[in-house]
């Protein structure tokens, strides 16, 4: 069997890459993709601990996280399409309407 900490390390690494994506990329699409990556690394950690403790509840939670990720992407991309039609750009640096 593979030690649990290897899975958690991989999960942490993928989460960090996702954080870097959110911080570095300027296209809103790429930010969404990085958020998906972070959700997935959290899912990996949850499934790892479900296996570690032989408890099914974490897998149920992963199931709901996947569902909510799908809903979030649908709403987010719909918003993005509307913003693009208004501004002809998905650059998040250009979205400054709410700036005080």
């Amino acid at each position: 069997m593979v030690p649990t900490f290897l899975y958690i390390g991989l999960s942490a690494l993928l989460f960090t890459i996702g954080v870097l994506g959110v911080l570095l990329r300027r296209s809103a699409l790429m930010v969404f993709m990085s958020i998906e990556l972070m959700l997935n690394s959290a899912n990996l950690a949850l499934v790892t601990f479900a296996n570690e403790w032989q408890s099914i509840d974490a897998q149920i939670m992963v199931f709901f996280v996947i569902t909510i990720a799908a809903a979030e992407v649908a709403v987010g991309l719909a918003l993005l399409v509307m913003i693009f039609r208004r501004r002809q750009s998905t650059n998040i640096d250009a979205m400054t309407t709410l700036k005080g």
């Binding site: 991989l10 296209s27 790429m30």
Partner: protein, 156 residues
Amino acid sequence: MDLVIFSITAIIAIIGAVAMLVSRNAVHSALFLLLNLGAISVLFLLLQAPFLFAVQLIVYAGAIIVLFLFVVMLLGAERDEDGADPVRWQVPTAVVMAALLIGQVIYVFVTEPTATADSVNTNISEGFGSPTQIAQALFTTHLYHLKSPHSCCSLP
């Protein structure tokens, strides 16, 4: 044997994530993200979660990535980041903060004895993570989350 499969899959997952981060074209990024999600679904299979393996492939590969590709191609926003970055200190700050984050994780691993000591699961129970067991937990213990708010009051 498990360790070999894990190593190969983990390397594929990391390569997919890094390539998603650095590729300039959003279509390529979405496809690399698909590679990463596929690798993670193989890890789910290694972790005795066959149901989540199937759900991950169906929902992520079949729905979310397709939606991403659809929107990217609909908008024609494959290359939306060309030109100079208006915020110059963004890259060094992001790298420093990511290094801090991964450093914290490594610190916890080094200092927390329960994180690394004897954390190898050797007992494999029959049928763990199977659709039957998931459904049983989902429709008994977690029934409340499945029901919509207006129908939850009529629970028996």
